[in-house]
């Protein structure tokens, strides 16, 4: 393994003319990707007057944090941030466990019911939840899930489990069946095998899943607005949406709010991207 990596490095370390072309492509692409981000950051420090009248290209006159203070208050950030973090973290953790279990049982059972349940799950990827929000709400209300923390987490799980199972199933080839068989001979129960042997092996896959889903859930608007809409239970994304209303939007605050809402998830990604790529490399994309 180590040797393989070494070989790779030596092969790819030569900075030839081809690499120069690639470097130029990447730098110009980075300019394209970074400049809107830079504009957001720059706008978030501008005063209303600067945004309305000033040159959009110019830098903010001073590094004033008023917009951030306003955003903090208008978004009720103390509440909404903790809410969003709570919903997101619980949902992704439960999803990781459920999807792992579902994918593994599907992979280990050849009978028709389990095969069918895979396709049953996959249908979920195709369902446009936006178009179904009335029946989703009706079912949520009848089951007492509306305006509860558990309710929105339930819905996040329901709407994301399909993708999770799809992803986890593609990792299953990386779980060696030999270990499980050995454990079975030792008298291990199915639960024992899953929680003691399979789950640890699925860690990189779960890390991948958690990263891929956490920012989707963090940014979700539909389910949050349906299931936790009171001010006490609100999420950041729902609060931000209110800043972009039809008439007379408060853009200075909105831009600061965007930065605030993206920052935590950005830090999460930057600190975990190593595991993410590792997880992806190990399983999903090998097919």
């Amino acid at each position: 393994m180590k040797k393989d990596k070494l070989l790779k490095n030596t092969n790819k370390s030569s900075f030839g003319p081809g690499t120069l072309v690639l470097q130029i492509i990447v730098v110009s692409a980075a300019l394209f990707f970074a400049s809107p981000l830079f504009i957001i950051l720059s706008y978030s420090f501008k005063t209303k007057r600067e945004i309305y009248i000033g040159n959009p290209l110019s830098l903010p006159e001073s590094l004033n944090f008023n917009n951030y203070i306003n955003a903090y208050e208008k978004l009720n950030l103390k509440v909404t941030f903790l809410n969003t973090a709570f919903y997101t973290s619980v949902s992704v953790l439960v999803l990781a466990i459920l999807c792992g279990a579902a994918a593994w049982t599907i992979a280990r059972n050849k009978n028709k019911f389990f095969k069918f349940s895979y396709f049953y799950f996959i249908i979920g990827i195709l369902i446009p939840a936006q178009a179904l929000f009335l029946p989703i709400y009706t079912v949520g209300f009848k089951t007492g899930l509306v305006n509860t923390r558990a309710g929105v987490i339930f819905m996040f799980i329901a709407t994301n489990i399909s993708f999770g199972v799809f992803l986890m199933t593609s990792f299953m080839s990386t779980v060696p069946i030999e270990l499980e068989e050995a454990a079975k001979i030792d008298g291990c129960s199915v639960f024992g095998i899953y929680f003691r042997i399979v789950m640890p092996l699925l860690k990189p896959a779960m890390a991948t899943l958690i990263i891929m889903l956490s920012f989707q859930i963090w940014n979700d608007y539909l389910m949050s607005s349906l299931f936790v809409s009171t001010n006490k239970l609100k999420t950041i994304t729902v609060a931000i949406q209110a800043l972009f209303s039809q008439q007379s939007s408060d853009y200075t605050t909105a831009f600061a709010a965007i930065v605030i809402s993206v920052l935590p998830i950005c830090i999460l990604f930057i600190s975990m991207q190593k595991y993410f790529i590792k997880g992806m490399t190990v399983g999903a994309v090998k097919g």
Partner: protein, 295 residues
């Protein structure tokens, strides 16, 4: 012995079921039952408000095939999906290959490319409205160029404008998947190709691309199903306009079912969308999986 074995198996199966069922139940309650309800509403002329939901037979489905606005929305959505699928895959593969080479500052670039997908699509739409409408004109002014950058303002450029915005948001995401796939290609394959006298391009086409096939499956299915469902991007940018030029099928469903208070017909439109998504995904999986096997 045999009875003991089957008993044991039964016991096993119950445990397997216990592992599978929680997810299955949550999924069924949260998504499948609402979908079935939506299917039922599609046979009514319900306005989404009253208690009674008058049965309307197949009339909603009949209307479906005579609705020029729906046809217009389908055409936009399909164009958007096709262009996205092609451009995002090419862009993502290109950047992934570049980031897998010997270039400098890989990690920094990787992060820059990825950040846009962390922003919600609604906000992305708004940012690009501002970019096309304010920032780029100021830039053209500064450069002394007379180029109209207001892509959202005309019905023949609005599609291009949205494609650019959508690619900006998602290329980095798919790039990461390709990057992971690239890094799992065994180095020996390249060495062997070199021994056979393959140049860099030949290596790319005969070694790299075939090995990317599984990743390609994930990305193509992901991009097409995602693009067919485009909605958030339009809400704070073009509002589906100018006129109806950028009204996607979901945007149309939403404005018909909710704003237009024709929930029954909106449900019929949703059903048609689910059917199309199902067909597209099945075809893609079948074709792509077959190719994977061949390669």
């Amino acid at each position: 012995m045999n009875t003991h074995d089957s008993k044991f198996k039964k016991h096993d199966r119950i445990q397997y079921l216990i592992l599978l069922l929680p997810g299955l139940i949550i999924f069924t309650i949260g998504l499948i039952i609402p979908m079935l309800l939506g299917f039922y509403y599609s046979f009514t002329s319900w306005n989404g408000m009253t208690a009674e939901k008058p049965f309307a037979g197949l009339s909603n489905y009949y209307r479906l095939f005579h609705d020029t606005y729906a046809a217009q929305a389908w055409i936009f959505t399909i164009k958007f999906t096709l262009l996205n699928t092609i451009l995002q895959n090419i862009g993502a593969i290109l950047l992934a290959v570049a980031l897998d080479s010997a270039i400098k500052l890989k990690k920094l670039f990787r992060t820059i490319f990825f950040i846009p997908c962390l922003i919600s699509a609604l906000v992305v739409g708004f940012i690009w409205l501002k970019l096309y409408g304010n920032v780029l004109p100021a830039l053209m002014d500064y450069l002394g160029k007379d180029i109209n950058t207001m892509l959202f303002g005309r019905d023949d450029t609005v599609l291009a404008g949205l494609i650019i915005a959508n690619n900006w948001q998602w290329i980095g995401y798919w790039m990461l998947i390709y990057l992971a796939a690239l890094q799992s290609i065994p180095q020996e394959l390249y060495s062997a190709a070199k021994v056979d006298g393959a140049n860099a391009f030949q290596q790319f086409f005969f070694v790299t691309l075939p090995m990317l096939a599984p990743a390609l499956t994930i990305c193509i299915v992901g991009i097409t199903t995602g693009s067919l469902k485009v909605y958030d991007l339009l809400v704070a940018s073009t509002n589906g306009g100018p006129g109806r030029a950028s009204t996607s099928i979901i945007y149309y469903i939403y404005s018909t079912a909710i704003n237009g208070r024709q929930y029954g017909y909106g449900s019929a439109l949703s059903v048609s969308l689910i059917v199309v998504l199902l067909i597209v995904a099945l075809i893609q999986l079948r074709v792509l999986k077959r190719r994977e096997v061949q390669l």
